[in-house]
């Protein structure tokens, strides 16, 4: 089934934040933000801006009615700079004007007197200064000290990984509209309506019940609008509170890129120990996360790095530590994978390093160490592993050895073009690692005309969650999908929601919707029982708009049944609550069972590097992916393809560049490059893992949002293998010394060329 929004999308009729019709009297906001990354804010000069045409009000930190604070996890993030500025792009003042142009013009007239303070952009420097967001987090399994002494081979090294700009095509934005009794309604492009509601409540000092947050859909989120949508909603809310007029702010692209955080860059150290049979016996790693200036979601991102530090391998002795390091950059935040990809890259680098030195293929080491059923993760959960099955099914279908041989043959005769192949197994845990967040609610109304309305806490952002919610209701009531309408995500209808994140929205909200629909269905069957003269409700089913008794269609149709229920004063509505069973985690012991289940997969990536120019093309990604049992292949396959390409972007051309003063140099689409249609793999082919194992996913259809992004890591190692193939046969004059490139992602064409000839 196609995404239900497809038709209005292609006709341009879907409504995004900037498309909402404006109310008369709407003011437009624009932020004046810090031109430097760190300093004492001595004063803000607004008198010139105040005199500009159309300017209604200029708001500074002191004007905020509630608390000047929007930090979600830790209260360490002022909405507007007060005494100090902490990153370039930090909001200092809000201009409200009658038109957007006037607001922008006036914001440019504001100046700030700032006494510069030292700027730190390197997480290792922040670590050396002991400037951490939260205390270090550690996982320990077995005894690495003893284990390393007994290892046949031990290798240690360092990796660098850059950040990633979300580049949702719809920028951040919000629209606040005053309501009665001092309350307000906020339209927000957010993955976390409740997070917005909390942030607005804090800055306005209004109770949450005075604040309605409504989200129709996002033009992309990818984690970037999980917590970072809060600021813009809070800005509009503060404006509305002080003026009692509607206030809108839709960011320009360069404002968005400058003022919002990105995927966390990491610098990491690793040490890997293997026995003579290439079994990984011991692994140590230290992760230095570049958190930016405030916590945002850095602590849970950091934790997920540890949760995924061994990827899909069983390693009996593991000691890992992770540090969330404070730098003078915008607060880095959630991004598809949420720290997991960063952890997985490091173990893959360690394996590649060992393979380089031992003269074997990395895949030999990878395969020997795949998780088996019952193997213990470093955090105590036991694996229900599909690692081996996805690997062998991928190999069976795509024949890794043959692909490698084709590349080797090609490389023998090609002077400038070299091919590289790499395997990338993945294992990704599904659930919020903060156990309490694994809850959701769904409100289902069945109307007497037979139509069904569903509201959940899930936010539609292209991932098709609304389509899946509609499928759940249509399935339970056995109705055509057109009978079900999934409505906006709204905090008055669904309260205390978890953000749409962690790949878990379809599971959590789908299960809640399932429960609500089943409860209504149960009541309806009781109403039907005497009408169809059935013996028991167990005999009654709803099928294609009719009540069936023991599988036999009766004359009682859906419509009549509903009206009968209404006349009998039976509720046709249900609000259901779902909490994932069986999960827990204790940071005291750093052990537990945090994930409802894991998603597995194995991808083979092939690339061709143009060793004359340093360019590359991705020839193919071929994968076996563990969908469980997909409830919507059109939607899920789209997630796989999109995830792979986004992961490849992160590993190849996407380079976030800050200078030493903390200024973003890759500050527009002209300087920050995401994949275009010509740069994606020529071929993406995947097969669903064939498995009958039960899981906790909605309809056994495993979460699919984040895991495929990590297949993209394979592109990095495939490019690296192609470079190695060139350098193995490099002519003397290229100056090549060590044939093994360092682990420094992304592999931009610059790094490729410098590695080929440097």
């Amino acid at each position: 089934m196609k995404n239900l929004d497809s038709k209005t999308h292609v006709r341009g009729e879907s409504v995004y934040l900037d498309d909402i019709p404006l109310l008369r009297g709407t003011l437009f906001a624009c932020v004046f933000d810090s031109p430097i990354a760190h300093g004492k804010l001595k004063g803000v000069e607004i008198s010139k801006a105040e005199k500009c045409a159309g300017v209604h009000k200029i708001i500074l930190a002191k004007d905020i009615v509630g608390e000047n604070e929007i930090g979600g996890v830790i209260p360490d993030e002022p909405l507007l700079a007060d005494a100090e500025v902490h990153f370039q792009g930090m909001p200092i003042a809000i201009v409200l004007a009658e038109t957007e142009e006037q607001a922008r013009h006036a914001a440019k007239q504001i100046t700030a007197e700032i006494e510069p303070l030292p700027v730190v952009t390197d997480p290792r420097v922040a670590y050396a200064n002991n400037d951490l967001i939260v205390p270090p987090k550690r996982f320990k399994l077995g005894d690495t000290d003893t284990a390393f002494r007994n290892c046949e081979h031990v290798f240690a090294g360092r990796t660098e990984q850059n950040g990633q700009e979300h580049l949702y095509i719809e920028t951040q934005g919000a629209y606040a509209v005053p309501a009665e009794q001092g309350g307000m309604k906020i339209y927000s492009s957010t993955q976390g309506p409740t997070a917005v509601q909390r942030a607005v409540s804090r800055v306005t000092n209004l109770p949450m019940h005075q604040i309605e947050v409504d989200v129709t859909r996002l033009g992309g989120g990818f984690g970037g609008k999980e917590d970072q949508a809060n600021a813009w909603a809070a800005i509009c809310a503060v404006g509305t509170q002080l003026t009692r007029r509607p206030v809108k702010y839709a960011l320009h692209r360069m404002e968005d890129m400058r003022m919002t955080g990105k995927r966390h860059p990491y610098s990491s150290d690793y040490k890997i120990g293997l026995d003579k049979d290439l079994k990984i016996v011991a692994y140590e790693a230290e992760f230095f996360q570049n958190a930016g200036v405030s916590a945002d979601l850095s602590p849970p991102v950091l934790e997920r790095t540890l949760f995924h530090c061994t990827n899909s391998y069983y390693i009996p002795h593991v000691t890992v530590a992770a540090y969330s390091c404070r730098t003078h950059l915008p607060p880095n935040t959630a991004f598809r994978g949420f720290g997991g990809p960063q952890g997985m890259f490091v173990i893959e680098a360690a394996i590649a390093h060992a393979a380089d030195k031992l003269g074997v293929s990395a895949s030999d080491i990878q395969r020997k160490n795949l998780l088996r059923n019952g193997d213990e993760f470093p955090y105590g959960q036991l694996a229900e592993s599909e690692a081996e099955t996805t690997w062998s099914q991928a190999d069976g279908k795509f024949d890794f050895a043959a692909l490698q041989m084709q590349a080797d043959e090609f490389n023998k005769t090609s002077k400038y073009q070299k091919k590289g192949v790499a395997l990338m197994p993945i294992c990704f845990g599904i659930s919020f690692t903060k156990t309490p967040m694994n809850q959701a609610r769904s409100l289902v109304h069945v109307y007497t005309d037979g139509s069904v309305a569903v509201s959940t806490g899930a936010v539609e952002m292209g991932q098709g969650v609304n389509t899946k919610m509609a499928q759940v209701a249509a399935e339970v009531f056995s109705l055509p999908i057109e009978s079900v309408r999934v409505h906006t995500t709204n905090t008055l209808r669904i309260a205390n929601t978890s953000p749409t994140a962690a790949s878990a929205a379809a599971d959590l909200n789908g299960k809640a919707t399932l429960m609500a629909c089943e409860e209504i269905s149960r009541r309806l069957k009781e109403v039907a029982l005497p009408l169809v003269e059935a013996q028991s409700v167990q005999d009654i089913t709803l099928e294609n708009g009719f009540v069936c008794n023991k599988g036999e269609k009766t004359s009682l149709d859906w419509h009549t049944l509903l009206n009968e229920a209404y006349l009998q004063r039976v509720s046709l509505s249900e609000h259901a609550h779902y909490a994932t069973p069986g999960i827990n985690f204790d940071w005291g012991t750093a052990k537990g069972h945090p994930f409802a289940y894991h998603v597995y997969g194995t991808a083979i990536t092939g690339v061709t590097v143009d060793c004359l120019r340093g360019r590359y093309e991705i020839d193919y990604v071929k994968a076996c992916h563990d969908f469980g049992s997909s409830m919507n292949t059109a939607v899920d396959f789209g997630q796989i393809e999109g995830g792979i390409v986004q992961g490849i972007g992160w590993m190849t051309m996407e380079e976030v560049v800050y200078d030493a003063e903390g200024r973003l140099r890759s500050n527009a689409l002209s300087t920050y490059k995401v994949p275009d249609i010509h740069s994606v793999p020529r071929e993406i082919e995947f097969i669903p893992l064939e498995t009958t194992r039960e899981n906790l996913a909605i309809f056994n259809s495993k979460a699919v949002g984040e895991p495929p992004l990590m297949y993209g890591i394979g592109a990095y190692f495939a490019i690296r293998n192609a470079i190695k193939a060139f350098r193995d046969h490099a002519p003397a004059d290229t100056g090549a010394t060590d044939p093994n490139p360092e682990f420094d992602a992304p592999f931009t064409p610059e790094k490729v060329l410098m590695n080929l000839y440097g």
Partner: protein, 471 residues
């Protein structure tokens, strides 16, 4: 007063001629299907179709409305998605293909793709899968990974190709390629498109004069000015020269090719003169920005912008092109390479503007190389072009250019000089590559480090000879 046809309706406005078409359609006409992604022509979310009268037919090209001044809409047919949507709510065949292949996820970029693909259906491009995919080379999607869009594009092109599929059969015509009537009959664009030609003719006849005046600021395609100074451009009015067809002609005589200064990159791509002179024309020009930008960006704009990494500047420098500068009634010719004095400093008066470009046809070999972070739709880290006249094994004339390695677009005087009279062999190339390093002064920036740019130019210079002489 600016008069044009917006979708089905003739419209006129006295809003500032510098206002972008994007702001006009979204915020003045409430046509919200056209989205804002970047406002610098780099994402394609605001792609529209622009129909222009060309003798007896209307040519449609895709353009990014964020960089297009209202003045450039004058006398044209501006088509937004609302202008192709079917009133009964059903989908056009392009829209249906995007739905069928799940080519839309969050939907924000989708309309841009739909417009580009619709443009592909009604333009003169060959109806191949490759050309269909290339038509969306200016559209960025962050959700799908493009494979589904690729499938939709190929499905569309297959159905357009004659002899296969329903569209072709229905049309009852043979040899149809992107024909407008065909597109109307086959649910690609609505039927009112058939009346647009006459409306445009009426518009042209009844028109007072285009909204251009004695302003100093020349504005052609707007693709750079609207990126660099958007607010200023929106508020002020200038001398809009994009539509001056005298400035877009491509002609040749025995010895020279002459190109009007307002010719856009696409004009070169479809020019038979160029196609014959440059066998790899399509391959090379595909490396230059994207389809909508190539439809808007003029050669003279590229030259006077004086960006050190202008692709077309590098191209024409290597042809040792001359430019005609005009001011009032006087004009003079000069070599393009003499235009650049320093960073964004030009050897011309403020009143002079480029009217013509000409270059000699006597080269035997030409090559263009460009490397950037993303191969397509990106600005070069380093680019370079070369033209050679080769007699036997000997280079009798040579011109080499390089971009991204100095404060100005660079004509490599010493390197070119060195190559003349030399035999083509590895020693010549190696020696010339050394001379190049003495002529350039790259700096480290977001497009690469100094060391990288030096190495890259060496490599790309070598690539010229690998490409041209299979070395």
């Amino acid at each position: 007063m600016i008069k044009f046809i917006l979708n089905e309706q003739t419209t006129e406005t006295d809003l500032p001629p510098g206002m972008t078409v994007l702001d006009f359609v979204r915020y003045r006409k409430d046509l919200k299907g056209t989205k804002i992604g970047c406002r610098e022509g780099d994402c394609g979310a605001c792609t529209i179709l622009v129909g222009e009268l060309d003798h007896d037919k209307v040519n449609y090209r895709s353009m990014t409305s964020c960089l297009m001044p209202l003045a450039n809409a004058y006398g044209k047919h501006i088509v937004t998605v609302e202008g192709i949507n079917k009133p009964d709510g059903s989908l056009t065949n392009v829209q249906q293909a995007m739905v069928d292949e799940s080519g839309t996820q969050c939907g924000f970029c989708t309309v841009g793709f739909v417009m580009s693909l619709t443009g592909f259906c009604i333009d003169d491009a060959p109806k191949t899968c490759q050309a269909a995919v290339s038509s969306v080379d200016g559209n960025i999607c962050r959700c799908t990974g493009y494979k589904s869009i690729e499938r939709a594009a190929c499905a569309i092109s297959e159905r357009l190709a004659v002899g296969s599929g329903q569209w072709a059969e229905d049309s009852g015509q043979s040899g149809v390629q992107g024909n407008l009537n065909f597109a109307i009959e086959n649910d690609i664009v609505p039927s009112y498109f058939s009346g647009i030609k006459d409306k445009l003719i009426d518009l042209k006849n009844g028109a007072d004069c285009p909204p251009s005046a004695a302003h100093r600021q020349l504005i052609a395609g707007g693709t750079d000015l609207y990126v660099q100074r958007p607010e200023e451009m929106a508020e002020t009015s200038g001398n809009y020269v994009f539509d001056n067809s005298d400035l877009r002609r491509i002609t040749q005589n025995e010895t020279h090719v002459e190109v009007g200064a307002s010719a856009v990159v696409t004009d070169l791509m479809v020019s038979l003169v160029f196609v014959r002179l440059f066998p790899d024309l399509y391959k090379h020009l595909k490396l230059v920005s994207s389809t909508p930008i190539r439809n808007m960006a003029t050669l003279a704009g590229n030259f006077v912008n004086a960006s050190p990494i202008g692709d077309m500047t590098a191209w024409f420098l290597a042809l040792d092109a001359e430019i005609e500068l005009s001011a009032g009634d006087s004009s003079r010719w000069m070599h393009l390479k003499d235009l650049y004095l320093g960073y964004k400093q030009l050897a011309k008066t403020e009143d002079e503007f480029i009217t013509n470009i000409r270059f000699k046809k006597d080269f035997t070999h030409f090559n263009f190389e460009k490397v950037c972070k993303r191969t397509y739709l990106d600005i070069a880290s380093v680019n370079t072009a070369i033209s050679l006249r080769v007699e036997g094994d000997i280079i009798s004339d040579a011109h080499v250019s390089a971009g991204g390695v100095a404060p100005t677009p660079l004509y490599l005087t010493k390197t070119s000089e060195y190559l003349r009279g030399k035999e083509i062999n590895e020693m010549t190339i190696a020696e010339a590559a050394k001379i190049i390093q003495t002529e350039i002064s790259p700096i480290s920036d977001v497009r690469g480090s100094e060391a990288y740019k030096r190495l890259l130019l060496r490599q790309l210079f070598t690539a010229h000879f690998v490409e041209l002489f299979n070395m």
